[in-house]
Amino acid sequence: MGRYVIRRLLQMVPVFLGTTFLIFAMVHVLGDPVAAMFGDRTPDPATAAAIRHDLGLDLPLWQQYLNYLGDIVQGDFGKAFNGQPVTELMGTAFPVTLKLTLVAIVFEAVIGVALGMISGLRPGGFADNGALAFTLLIISVPTFVTGYLLQYLLGVKWGVINVSVSSETGIGELLIPGLVVAGVSLAYVTRLTRTSVAENMRTDYLRTAVAKGLPRRRVVGVHLMRNSLIPVVTFVGADIGSLMAGAIITERIFNIHGVGFQLYNGVLRQNVQTVVGFVTVLVLVFLLANLLVDLLYAVLDPRIRYA
């Protein structure tokens, strides 16, 4: 187990380097951060050159990247244009998005698995067809349309929720935004669970469990669930990263000041340090979540053992 974890951690290194370099290069090659600092005005060439030298921007790209890596290893993600350290921005933004993501994952797992189980236990039944149509609809309507629609109906028309989330961002306020973030993934979880349950319904071990007279609750709850949820766990785990990034749209609609909000503003203002820093952390979260999922495999499926 220990050796497996170490091997996986080592495999993560090239992917981490590649992804961060890609985003680093994209942000640097495509826009001049010094010009962005001056907004619409043209900076004095000498001043611009001095700032560039101070920030190390006159070095070749690979050298800048190495310096950046050296800095972040020491926990220094640089400063945004207004002089605020990026880590400070992260400290306010990540807890908010983390809360939003957790709400989304709970929705995704609970509703998705429940719907999938109901439709998978009776394939072709009324509930199954209903769930199929429902998921198709959810997948087809883009997130920003669902977001505005729910905001309009619940917030403006019926006044059930606040139209925009307050700065405290309590869990209660995040329920509807969380549902919007979860939307498409929820539909995929439903379909995945359904396929997996319907497949496992035909297995020998399930027939044995029924034949030896186990109560239905135990057959479904233990024998069927444990085996059917393996692909679902993979999906949900791999989804954590994309949920956090997908929050860009939802956070914009509901005015939530999380990671998506900072990234969107960072890109618009070419705030290089913010963008690169936030993406670096997002990539780390994505990679670690995938590792956790693989380790969870061994818990769910006794056939899998990591030496």
Partner: protein, 303 residues
Amino acid sequence: MPDVLQKNPENTAAAPAAAAPEKARSLWGDAVATLLRSPVFLISGLLILLLLTVAFWPGLFTSMSPYDCDLAHSRQGSAPGHPFGFDVQGCDVYARTLYGAKASVEVGVFVTAGVFLLGGLLGMLAGFFGGWWDSLLSRITDIFFGIPIVLGGLVILSVIKANTVWPVIGFMIAFGWPPIARVARGSVITVKQQDFVQAAKALGAGNGRIMLRHIVPNAVAPVIVVSTIALGTYISLEATLSFLGVGLQPPTVSWGQDISTAAAQYRNAPHMLLWPAGALSLTVLSFIMLGEAVRGALDPKQR
């Protein structure tokens, strides 16, 4: 077989006639027959035909121009001759919704074609040759999976601003091929191990011939299925990027942009938001339904 025929003498005439084409059918012929019997395929096919007609000849459905705007009508509801009302600039929402179809269809079709070719080719090379080429490609796919596509679009497209659909299409191909390459790789690996490929190799066929004549026809079905379903999501992604302000730029008329401008004011005039959003959702829905129908027809396990 003759047994059965003897037991049902009245079927003797009909059965061979019905059985003959059944036997001769290939996977593709079979798939077409299944599709033509599937209501999901027929409905989504009709919707897509309608969409294509609107996209190529919007003038057939309206005599108004999407650029013919009058600020005096700003945000007004439906009026005679203007069934969907007016948007913020006083443009006709009905005309703009019709003209917006073109950009979505163009992006969807070109991105799917590009991703299919690029992802299919790279995936096939990785699956066929294996070794370091495969490891390299797998790592590159991992890297692209690590960057969320909306975020990549926000960064790259915020700098490249053009009045055509091509930067958006180019970006989406560049970031969209890895999932397709994964499917193609897996499919090629399965086919590669089959006897007829070994036979072709034993007969001295070169790599190019094996790939083109033996592997591609047998491995392409899953790639087609994934690409068809992805077409709908590409249209949705384009609208999302346009909504964020980095996708298509005016004067190109697109649903994403119209939704974005409408969203700022939808509390007073929800109709500006609902029509383009409805058209977009219906389009994505029909392409995803088409993809599901194609999957049902091409994947024998689903039947």
